[in-house]
């Protein structure tokens, strides 16, 4: 019972981060601030959800798998954010203007699924 409560609580906190990240992704003006919003959602939101699920895990192997999933998502999100930011910089330098807000959606923008 207590473990169910912990799961509800932690996944809810995770969802709040996802909502905040999605709002940021949709509302922020340029690529870099959107990335900022997105990586917060990915890292903290997923982290809290994984932590919440730990209380439902039957054994330590499942806990280790959950931790691995979070660590890999963290690594991939961080790398993708760096690459997208660099691509946006190159884009701006080559055009001499601000990158068009809609021209290049972030390939990692899974926030769009949760609109």
């Amino acid at each position: 019972m207590a473990s169910d409560l912990a799961t509800y609580l932690l996944t809810s906190v995770g969802l709040v981060f996802f909502v905040a990240g999605t709002v940021g992704l949709l509302r922020f003006p340029d690529t870099w601030s959107r990335l900022h919003a997105l990586t917060k959602a990915d890292n903290l939101g997923l982290g809290f959800i994984a932590l919440g699920l730990v209380f439902q895990a039957g054994d330590w192997v499942t806990v280790a798998k959950l931790a691995l999933i979070w660590a890999l998502a963290l690594l991939a999100a961080g790398t993708a954010a760096q690459l997208v930011a660099r691509a946006a910089l190159t884009d701006m330098a080559s055009r001499g203007t601000d990158p068009d807000a809609n021209a290049k959606p972030d390939p990692n923008a899974d926030g769009e699924a949760r609109k």
Partner: protein
């Protein structure tokens, strides 16, 4: 009740993503929505209790197809090719045809008689198959023909991709030359992830004997490792003429064929005697995983395009 609600929301998301991928503006955006679509469809497979399919869809449908299409968008952008919007008459006709198709398919689905199901037949023969995962048993034992022919189809597709190489680029590393900042995030990523990826790929194959997973899912993860290492500049993409890579390409079909021929002794082609089933299937699966990984990675990398890196005509057949 809440389960059906979740399914309805998921179906709506799948349809929205498919619509954006098919009819939305901009190729790049369409491909991004297609990747999202793949992830959502994988979730749908989970809901249908088909975990093996969900893994395959996530790894292949969303993952590798996404990489392939994103690379194609970048290459097409370089040629400056653009398409105009179709005329209204075409859109209306297509809409009509599509609506008719959907209506017929939906109606036939609703009219289908209740399935007999092959669960019991598969479960009854499972002890003889050498593995405990029924899907793996069907793939590698009961319907081994399909899988054998499939591994050959993969090879044929790769040969098709390679045949698109221009003469002057033949023998160069597969795909376009990759430029990576040394010491940058991508090259670091390309060094950190492959060991974990290999571990997960091999685990998926191993787990596939008793739980969800198998040669296709594991092979796809390994293909992704090869692709990532190539993109991060850690691994030079294999040359299409490299003999060792070619041997990896044919290992799966060859081992499978040999096992099938050995089955002739037990009665018919591809007969797998229950006594030897487990080691035989594991051997086939290991060889198949290797071939799937290399074939898919090379197919996604595409034909060699860097004519400057191709060997001179008399130095062909170089081994790496």
């Amino acid at each position: 009740m809440s389960g059906v609600f979740f399914d309805a929301v998921l179906c709506a998301l799948i349809l929205a993503a498919a619509l954006a991928a098919v009819a939305g503006r901009g190729l790049f955006r369409a491909v991004v929505f297609f990747i999202l679509y793949g992830v959502l469809v994988a979730t749908a497979w989970l809901r249908l209790d088909a975990i093996d399919v969900a893994l395959a869809e996530a790894a292949i449908g969303a993952g590798l197809t996404g990489v392939l299409l994103l690379g194609a968008v970048a290459r097409l952008a370089r040629t400056g090719a653009r398409a105009h919007d179709p005329p209204l008459a075409v859109v209306l006709t297509a809409g009509l045809a599509a609506t008719g198709m959907t209506a017929v398919l939906g109606w036939s689905f609703l009219e289908l008689p209740p399935p007999q199901g092959l669960q019991e037949a598969v479960a009854a023969s499972l002890p003889d198959s050498g593995v405990e995962n029924p899907v793996t048993a069907v793939l590698l034992n009961f319907r081994a023909w399909d899988t054998l022919l499939e591994s050959i189809v993969l090879l044929a597709a790769l040969i098709g991709v390679w045949s698109l190489t221009r003469d002057e680029a033949w023998g160069a590393p597969a795909g376009i030359p990759q430029h990576v900042r040394p010491g940058g995030v991508l090259s670091t990523f390309g060094r950190v992830l492959p060991p974990i990826g290999v571990l997960i790929g091999v685990y998926l194959v191993w787990a596939g004997a008793s739980r969800a997973g198998g040669a296709f899912q594991g092979g796809t993860v390994l293909a992704a490792v090869i692709l990532l290492a190539a993109m991060a500049g850690v691994l030079r993409p294999p040359r299409v003429t490299a003999r060792r890579w070619r041997m990896a390409l044919v290992a799966g079909p060859v081992v499978f064929l040999l096992a099938g021929l050995a089955g002739l002794g037990a009665g018919a082609f591809l007969t797998i005697p229950p006594v030897h089933a487990k080691p035989l299937i594991l051997t086939i699966e290991a060889a198949l995983t290797l071939s799937i990984a290399v074939t898919l990675a090379l197919a996604v990398l595409g034909p060699p395009e860097d004519a400057a890196a191709a060997p001179s005509p008399d130095a062909k057949g170089e081994e790496r």
